[in-house]
Structures are given as C-alpha cells and as structure tokens.
C-alpha cells in the first residue's frame, strides 16, 4: 500500500546559514537579507502611494506597530504579558504635552517624554515585576484604567478636557517618515537584541528559567526592569507622537485599545517572533479602519478573527510564511 505523505525539507542555504560558512553566492545573500530589505522598501514606498487620509491611518498604525513590537518583545522574550500599552502611550503623551505647555519645543519634548516616560513607567511597574503570568497581565491592564479615572476625578492636567493647543508636526512627510524611521530602528534593533546579543539570552532565561537566572547570580527584577524600560520607551514615543499629531492630550490616550490591539496583533502575526507583531499590526489596524463603516460590527469581525487564530491557527502568519520561505514541501511515497 503506497501512501502519500507530505515531506518538508530545509532549503539548502537555510541549512548552511546556521553555520559559519553560510554565504556562497549573490543569490544566497539575497535569500538571507531579502525579507529585511523588502520590509525596508515597503515601509519607505508605501507612504508615497497613500491619500492624506490613509497617510494618517498609516501614522496611527505605526503607533500600534511599536506597541505590538514592545508587547511581543515582553511576552515572547522576557515572559511578561504586559497589557499596559495604554499606560505607556498615556504617560508618554501627557509628559510630552505638559513639557510643551511650559514652552519646551516639540523636537525636545518627544525624546524627553520617551526618557522620562520610560523611567516613570518602569518605576510604577517595579513593584509588580515579581508577579507572574496572568497576575502581571491584570495589574498592568489596571494601571491605565486607574489613570484614566484618576485624571478626570482630580482634574489634574486639564482633567476631562485635556491639554489643547499643543505644537503639531508642520510637515506631513516629516510625520510619516519619522514613524517609518523609528519603526525600522526598533524592529531591527530589537530583533538584533534578542537574537544576536548576549543580553537576549539573559532575557530568555528570565522567561523560561527563572531559577537558573537567580542561581547564576543575576537579579531577576533588574533585568525585567530593563526590558520594561525598553518597551515603555517605545510606547511613550507612540504617545508623544500621537500628542503632536493632534496637538492635544486627553484621557483617550489611556484607551484600552492601546492595550488590547498589540495582543491581537501578536496573536495574528505569531507569538515568539519580533516580526509577527509588526505584520499583525499592519494588517489589523488598516482592516479595522476599512471596516469603520460597519460600526461596532467590525469589533465582532475582529473578535472572530482573533478566536480563529488563537484556536485554529496558533502558528501565526509570520511563522507560516517563514516556513514556506525556508523550506520546500513535496509529496513522497511511504
């Protein structure tokens, strides 16, 4: 009885690429750097092709992309499921807005908001870092809710009205390409950090093997704090960017969307990869924008997609594509 079975084989260059003798021809170089190059080109070209409305959507998508990468980094490589994206965005946005109201120019506000916001978020989350899994997810999810209720209740920072009249980007292209640049730096930086730098191994240990890390004389909380700081800086940039895109800061910066969407994007794109969240966010946010006409029904679509990916296609898009790219399949007789 001859039965057919699907066999998967690594492509030649992939087998060799794991070793030092990887590259032997231009074709193989292209195979290895092709995906990265394609990403750079797409990100650089796409804004040119869009209408002004979709350019703004692109910019907002960028913020979600950054949040998704920071979520994917924390969840997939450090083991902290952090649903505090809205917290990072809100803190970054408010710091940038407050600095701007006291006369600091915008191009200084954004880096300051990243630095101070990153520090603030890290210090605020510091007591929660020993928490694990679901507990950390819940507490980090509660933080933005807390601030979103605290600000209107106390009337600080403009209360419910927020801070209007802030400086905005004078140039649409500057707005777009700042985001493109930041995304490229972040995606390649983080992927290098976790895959090629030694510190990436420490982070992975923090995720998979707490005990060994402690027994290695490393302070778990210190490394978690570093990872949270990296993520928070990315989120705070998103917040500051949004602030100066609209020239306004309000409690909508603490919106739950910023916390949930990165989770969805990571699930769709693939958990445990850095490019997965990026792909996921670039798919989901524009789709959600395109479905705006359907009102809240789009969230139903969304939820269905999410459940589908989590339950029936856990691999995620990026891992699927990666497999197709790096291996070929054929049917063999058994």
């Amino acid at each position: 009885m001859a039965e057919l079975r699907k066999e998967r084989l690594d492509r030649g260059v992939k087998v060799r690429a794991d070793s030092i003798y990887a590259v032997s021809s231009m074709k193989e170089i292209m195979f290895l750097i092709g995906p990265g190059l394609a990403l750079i080109i797409v990100l650089l070209v796409v804004p040119l092709l869009l209408t002004p409305y979709w350019q703004r959507v692109f910019a907002i998508t960028g913020i979600y992309v950054l949040l998704s990468i920071s979520f994917g980094f924390l969840a997939g490589y450090v083991g902290l499921v952090c649903l505090g994206g809205a917290f990072f965005v809100g803190v970054g946005g408010y710091i940038s807005g407050l600095l701007n109201t006291v006369g600091v120019p915008m191009f200084l506000c954004i880096p300051l908001a990243m630095l101070l916001g990153g520090l603030f978020c890290t210090v605020a989350l510091l007591p929660c870092l020993p928490l694990r899994g679901v507990y950390f997810a819940i507490v980090s999810f509660v933080y933005p809710l807390f601030f979103a209720r605290l600000i209107p209740a106390t009337g600080w920072f403009g209360g419910t009205d927020g801070l209007p009249g802030l400086e905005v980007f004078s140039n649409q292209w500057g707005l777009l390409y700042l985001m493109v640049g930041v995304i490229l730096v972040v995606i390649f930086g983080i992927s290098r950090l976790v895959n090629y730098e030694d510190i990436g191994l420490v982070f992975r240990g923090v995720k998979d093997n707490e005990q060994a890390i402690k027994a290695s004389g490393l302070n778990l909380t210190w490394y978690k704090a570093q990872a949270v700081f990296i993520s928070a800086v990315m989120g705070c940039f998103g917040g500051a960017y949004l602030t100066h895109m609209y020239g306004w800061v309000g409690i909508s910066l603490f919106a739950t969307d910023f916390s949930i969407m990165p989770l969805a994007a990571t699930v769709v794109g693939g958990v445990g990869t850095i490019f997965g969240p990026l792909v996921g966010a670039f798919l989901l946010v524009p789709i959600s924008e395109a479905l705006r006409a359907f009102g809240t029904l789009r969230i139903v679509f969304y939820a269905v997609i999410l459940v589908f990916f989590v339950v029936f296609w856990t691999e995620g898009l990026v891992d699927y594509l990666k497999r197709k790219y790096e291996q070929f399949e054929h049917w063999v007789r058994v």
Binding site: L131, A153, L306, V310
Partner: protein
Amino acid sequence: MELIVYGIVNSVILIMMSVGFALVYGVSRVPNFAHGALFILSGYLTWIFLNRFGLPYILAILLALILITIIGALLYRLIIIRVRGMPVSEIIASFGVGLAILEYLRWSGLRGMTYMLPPFIPGSTNIFGVVIDYQRILIVIGGLGLLAFLWFFTTYTKTGLALKAIAQNERAALALGIDADMAATVAVALGALFAGIAGVFILPKGNIVVEMGYEVLIFAIAVSVCGGLGSWKGAIYASFLIGFAQILTVKYIASHYHFVVALLVIIAVLITRPSGLFGKQKELEERV
C-alpha cells in the same frame, strides 16, 4: 446604618458578579473572560423572551438561564477545549468570544434606554431607617442563596465533590477516574449559569447596557484576583473589602472616585500579597 446596608448590598452584588468566574477558575483553571458577556446576554435573552415572545417573567428568566448554561457548555466544548493548558490562549479565546457577543449586541441595537427589565417586586421598603428597594433585598437574598447552593453543591453532591477533587489535585483525580473535560464543561456551564443568575437579578436595577458587560468582567477579575485566584471563599472576602471600600469612598470622598479606589485596592493587594488574600499558589510554587 445606611453605610452598612448599602455596603452589604454592594458587596453581595460583587459576589454575584464574581463567584461564577472564581468557581470556573478554581475548578478548571479556565479564566473565562466571556463572563461579562454571559452576564449581559442572560439579561438580553430574558428581555427578548419577555417582550418579543410575551412569555411570563418567571418563564422568560428560566428559559434564559437554561440557554445561557448551554451556551457556557458549548463555549467550553467548541472553543476553550482546543486551547486547554495555554493560559494566554484561553484568555484570548474566551475574551474574543465575549467581545464578539457584546459588540454584536451593541451593533444590533443594545444601547440607550430601550432595554429595561422590570424589578421582580416593585417598590421599596425601610430597614433600620434606610430606604431600600425590594430588588436590592432580593439581590442580597439571591446572592446568599447562590452561596448556600454552591456550598451544598461542593460539599454534598457527587459532581461537586468531583469538581473539588480536580481543583485540589488534578492528577490524582484523573487517576481516580474523574473525567477532567466533563468536569470542566460542567464548571464552565455552571459558571455561565451563575453569570446568568447574577444578570437577571442585578440588571433590573438599571438599563441593560454593553458597557456593564466589561465592568462586570473587570470586577469579577478584580475580586477573584484579590481573593486569590481559584479560591471562591477568598472572592467573598475580597467582595466585602472592595464593596465597602467603594461605598466608603462614595460617602466620604466623592462618587467619581469609586472606580479609582477599586483599582487602587487591586494594585495594593497584588503588590503586597502576590497570590491574593487567600491564594495558595505562591507557597505551592516555592515547594517545587
């Protein structure tokens, strides 16, 4: 006096909202994030049976509760069972289902003042000089009844004991021939039923609105986490803690702080006692 009465009512409301969630997690380790959606759905179904089909109130409620229990069982059998053992996936899958239900209801017109359930017994009375409507009294009675049922169920019935066994030591329970999947199905269905009961008792207090679904979910999580995930007794204590904290804030600070205080309590409890007030997880983990 007013403080105590309203504090108790508020706490019992929290208990009703959260006990189903805590029970499901305690027995099957499934965080059922569709809890809030089931809560709203039961109210909505009751409203449909009552107003569209013109059924008597009590029949409408019963039908809605039966349906919600079946939905809970299906939710486990069709969706959650496929991602068992992966907590994050379980959360996302159940939250996704809840989200779909809630947003579908919103889209199909569930907003504003249109959807209202009548109170079981209209009017109000006077207890220790505090004016209180009958519905709130019924909530307290219902909540206590629910707890009594839960206690009876897990102490005296075979299914309840099986659930308890699984909660305490899954492997040993499996070795004794308890079907873990069946037990988890029962647990999720029971959790759905509790959410449904909470819905039909609490919703007549106001309108059926989608936001309430999210709020119920957040409170259920908050209470269960504070009490120690998996311990429904802890959830009861935590309900009283948060319930009274809220009433006290409304009385002495300002009403718009009441959510802030609830969140503050959660953060504070989790930071000082990472496994909740009555959680045992931490010690277990340390032993390994």
